[in-house]
Amino acid sequence: MNKRTVFMELSALLTGVYKIIDPTDKQLNESTADEYLRRLTGEFPELLPKLLDAYERLASAVPKPDIDDALLTKVQAEPEFAEPDVAFVAKQIVNIWYFSQFNTTTGTTVDGGLYERGLVWPLIKAHPIGYSNQPFGYWTKKP
């Protein structure tokens, strides 16, 4: 498995948004994944690979396991996940996909670079704040 695929599968597993790796969407999400992977690796150069390796060990099994909560439970049972620092990085993977931002261990919030692509917006039926692109009065209707 290449690093990008490992990251995307683990991201889908942790966020619960499986369309990240849905065959029809995966290619569209690759550039986002590359950017997030780059930024997270920059902040967590040792911890992130550790987490990705733990996932890859399980995901490389034959036959390949489904990406679902059963696999998530197995990942969470891996010894790496028990390390607070690694578990913290897992949370930041979730944060960066939903809001395009993540936290450092010192509590600073770091930009993920793709604010408008946050997964949270379609989920709450709102536009990214500051990017309405809708006409006057759209807000009067139930979305």
């Binding site: 597993l13 942790l14 966020t15 619960g16 948004v17 679902d68 909560d69 998530l72 969470q76 897992a90 949370k91 979730v94 944060n95 939903y98 809001f99 931002q101 936290n103 919030t109 770091v110 930009d111 670079g113 604010y115 997964l119 949270v120 989920l123 709450i124 039926k125 709102a126 536009h127 704040i129 500051g130 990017y131 309405s132 692109n133 809708q134 006409p135 006057f136 009065g137 759209y138 807000w139 009067t140 209707k141 139930k142 979305p143």
Partner: protein, 575 residues
């Protein structure tokens, strides 16, 4: 004496820009506007600010789009003013964070309100709310025996309110507000009110007409300087949900609107990167204005002269400039005193059904019913806002995910939980009225900024008049949520009113800085007269909310705009 300029206006925020613009309409005046900031007022600048904001993370921060400006080094803004007093002052062994504000030994509270030192001032990051004062707000002392009275009344200001509403482009529903606690309206708003959001409609169904602890409440559209149709060359609101810190399309008014108009006039010059350090006086007249051009490397001192000087540097920098000018215009000892803010707090809850916040403006409606009454003898009134921005300052949507993750929620349970929690978020906030108090003041700190100019130093106490109102605001909000069937989350959310650690109340600033150069008829007890002219100098005028003798419960901009237009007319008559 002949000068190159007739008028020098210090500050290019809404007060300075409106005053200069009105003067330019009344006469062929040569006007110089000196501004400490140095940003552009173009569409391109707005886009740069928006891009910068995206990279900040905290979109609720009023400074987020602007903190890369070079002017922040030389004309610092109080970017950390919302921190608690201990964090601003520094704890034993821990230096304070990089701060602009300084505090006297006997201060009880932090002064949390911030402002922008930019071309266009703080209107870059205001919400646009434009409720007028009530008639009783001008007569607090005579009616309730507390605070002060204004030297003018609602009737006198009413025509100027109408003009201000047209200049700012205020949308509002005339019939809803005409006669509110006696505040008649002689003209319609230039635009109809912003239509209610889906969220507002659901809340209105539950609480409109309800009896809340003895008061019948009415959900009213807040008048806002935000276009509800194409107006004054600016588009109708697109509901970006980003009013603070930046309207990306300028559907919401900001002072750059009038600055762009002024830029068309060859008689008017806007000089940026000019931090005023001193106004000189001679024989009861302001004669010369000194400033530092920080863009020159090294920074260079200059001075300019004009027959009239207008101070419009907002309620912290204005008294600072006077104090730095050998205590100018301060024979009353009132300069820098009577400092006020709207002390605010909010309660959050989860509505029984999805409200879908973050669609439309950050707030459209409010409750005006708690602003006036005989209770003002004992405690302040408050204006309530119904938020459309989730849990507002109590917690950004990103915090929902943080909390879920802390609870160990990952995987398929996460999207549903996020959706359920964020779409049901609602907040009620209440802004109280501070009294003008002699000891609430800003003066000069011995500590200096990058240009060697004293930083502002505060002594501040919100007072029991406000504290009682905050408690009442919490009771009313709790009751309103009960009527809505909304669930107030368990601690630590929401933030409690009483802080067990600091032993003070938790409260937020509305960043409505008022007082410090108050107006009055008595020169021994006020800084400017009823027209805004300094009692001590015949050609020095002060515009902006610094002249307010009472803070009322209204957001101050439309009132300061009305006063600035009125002062401009008075200046024209004098000249």
């Amino acid at each position: 004496m002949s000068h190159k300029y007739d008028v020098i206006v210090i500050g290019s925020g809404v007060a300075g820009a409106l005053c200069a613009w009105k003067l330019s309409q009344l006469g062929n005046y040569r006007i110089l506007i000196l501004e400490a900031g140095d940003n552009a007022i173009t569409r391109a600048q707005r886009i740069i600010f928006q891009n910068n904001m995206d990279a900040q993370g905290n979109r609720g921060d009023m400074f987020a789009p602007y903190n890369n400006l070079e002017s922040r080094i030389f004309a610092p803004a109080p970017e950390n003013s919302q921190l608690e007093l201990e964090d601003q002052r520094g704890k034993p062994g821990v230096p304070p964070k990089e701060l602009y504000y300084d505090y006297g030994n006997d201060t009880k509270h932090a002064f949390k309100a911030g402002y922008n030192r930019m071309v266009g001032g703080s209107t870059w990051s205001w919400r646009g709310n434009c409720p007028r004062f009530l008639p009783s707000d001008f007569k607090l002392k005579s009616l309730f025996g507390v605070g002060r009275d204004w030297p003018l009344d609602y009737n006198e200001l009413e025509p100027w309110y109408c003009d201000a509403e047209w200049e700012l482009g205020v949308s509002g529903n005339h019939k809803e507000l005409d006669g509110l606690f006696g505040a008649y309206r002689s003209r319609e708003f230039p635009m109809p009110g912003i239509p209610l959001t889906y969220s507002d409609e659901q809340i209105k169904k539950k609480i409109d007409g309800a009896d809340v602890l003895g008061t019948k409440v009415r959900v009213v559209t807040t008048p806002q300087a935000r276009n509800s149709k194409f107006f004054d060359g600016r588009p109708a609101c697109e509901g970006e949900s980003n009013c603070i810190p930046l309207c990306p399309i300028q559907a919401k008014y900001d002072a750059t609107n009038h600055l762009r108009r002024l830029a068309q006039n060859p008689e008017i010059e806007l000089r940026t990167a000019a931090v005023v350090t001193k106004i000189e006086q001679q024989a009861g007249r302001a004669t010369e204005v000194h400033y530092i051009d920080w863009k020159a490397k090294p920074a260079k001192a200059h001075s300019v002269r004009a027959s009239t000087v207008v101070l419009a540097a907002h309620a912290i920098e204005t008294p600072k400039i006077l104090r730095m000018s050998s205590n100018l215009a301060n024979s009353s000892d009132q300069v820098g005193r009577n400092l006020m803010d709207h002390v605010q707090f909010e309660l959050i809850a989860s509505f029984p059904e999805p409200l879908y916040p973050f669609r439309g403006t950050q707030s459209v409606t409010g409750l005006e019913d708690f602003r006036d009454g005989d209770f003002r003898k004992e405690r302040s009134g408050f204006r309530m806002t119904i938020g459309n921005d989730g849990w507002g300052r109590t917690g950004a949507p990103a915090n929902v995910i943080d909390r879920l993750l802390k609870q160990g929620t990952f995987g398929s349970a996460l999207p549903g939980a996020i959706q359920d929690q964020i779409t049901r978020m609602v907040r009620l906030s209440f802004s109280t009225e501070m009294l003008a108090e002699f000891d609430n003041r800003v003066d000069l700190s011995p500590n200096k900024d990058a240009l060697g100019i004293p930083r502002p130093r505060f002594n501040f106490d919100i007072g029991t008049y406000v504290e009682k109102a905050l408690r009442r605001g919490m009771e009313v909000s709790t009751e309103l949520f009960k009527i809505m069937g909304a669930e107030i989350p368990p601690p630590p959310l929401p933030k409690p009113l009483d802080n067990a650690v600091t032993k003070r109340m938790n409260w937020n600033t509305a960043a409505h800085i008022m007082g410090t150069c108050i107006m009055g008829d008595d020169p021994t007890d006020s800084v400017v007269n009823r027209w805004g002219r300094a009692h001590d100098l015949e050609n020095l005028w002060i515009v902006g909310s610094s002249v307010f003798p009472t803070s009322a419960t209204s957001n101050p901009t439309v009132t300061l705009a009305a006063l600035a237009l009125r002062s401009a007319a008075a200046i024209d008559r004098k000249m």
